[in-house]
Subunit: 221 residues, 2 copies
Amino acid sequence: MSERSSLFAGRVRHTAAPGLPPGGVEGPRRRILEAALTLFARRGFHGTSVRDLADVLEQQPSALYKHFPSKEHVLAALVQHGYAMHHQTLLDGLLTVGASPVDQLHILVEVNARSHAQWPLLAIVVHEELHALPEALLGPVVALRDASAALLLRILQRGSAEGCFDVVDLPTTAAAIGAMGVRIPLWFHPGLGLDIDTMAHRQALLALRMVGATTSSKASR
Amino acid sequence: MSERSSLFAGRVRHTAAPGLPPGGVEGPRRRILEAALTLFARRGFHGTSVRDLADVLEQQPSALYKHFPSKEHVLAALVQHGYAMHHQTLLDGLLTVGASPVDQLHILVEVNARSHAQWPLLAIVVHEELHALPEALLGPVVALRDASAALLLRILQRGSAEGCFDVVDLPTTAAAIGAMGVRIPLWFHPGLGLDIDTMAHRQALLALRMVGATTSSKASR
DNA sequence: GTCTATACTATGATAGAC
DNA sequence: GTCTATCATAGTATAGAC
């Protein structure tokens, strides 16, 4: 339980390449984003200088400014990429199930967990470096995050209204379910002998337990 | 659900004074720690300069170096203070209950939640800025954190062995329970119309649900 | 124990040649 | 689109007077 594992705090563990999900940008912009992703995840946005980034890329700092107008724009692109991918993942998951809140919560938690486990560097940067974005770059990005949160809240509300959930307290429960996913990059890694799909499935079971809905057509191990 | 609330990410919200729990240091060192706490929580360790800190204190940067040998030592003192207070809180809580794993899990989650809700600035700095500490200052501090994590794990293991818990998966469950507490400073605030004790009690209920132990002598609302 | 003054380095970003 | 060279500022930390 040591080697600096952590249920309560920590930072990123392994430097899984590529780190950045496919899609969106390509070419030199992508190369820069991948390098920045690793550095920001390990040392933080303010802990990473433009020179550090240029060193990893084996380029001069000035070369980066042909692709991004500032260091902050690099972070903004990463966060945007992360939230967009994540939100799309949630929507894709929801499309695979029916109208049952139980099934919807199950799949939402499952794909959320898979997403965080599969792209831990991106999850870290998005969650822990967002505060470094200036207001101007924050707005568009936060809208996507709020949309994802709203999905969870709506499912919990519908499940309560329909009587299939027994939700103790909406904000506390939603926050607990969200927290479970967000923290994945800080403790989960392949070396645990627990594969991503199993872990994701078990998080879904935990979420269903939290809302008092132990039975699910999808929950049968 | 907007105004930048956040189930999935965020930063600190309100600047509740004093922010730093009582005990330990006093005098000028304490004044410095309190100012640093607010700044580190809001802008991060690397996002805060010694000049920023001196400005808040209405002193010259050089004055700080009579009390701390470096900026990193200020962070180390904060993290140490935070982990020590937190661990003591957990132990104090456990002393108030008997040998039942159900009661022990209940009280552990409850006092953990209260601690995070009451000292959100400190929790933020401890959890999100720990990575900025150099190895030399990290060791002693991390030992306390691991001891706290071990308490939770042992309770879960005992409860499983005694048959009062049905734990789906030890690391996943422990991480989920820990995550729930760690994220409190990012969404909970007094303005929600949910007081600390109620929220803490409900987190304890959620934890008991996660381990399949819905009944508890302390859990009766 | 605080001040003024300053050393020295690192930082984000730009200019202009190729 | 990358390079060399450089600017202006901000960074951590120290020296020495009071």
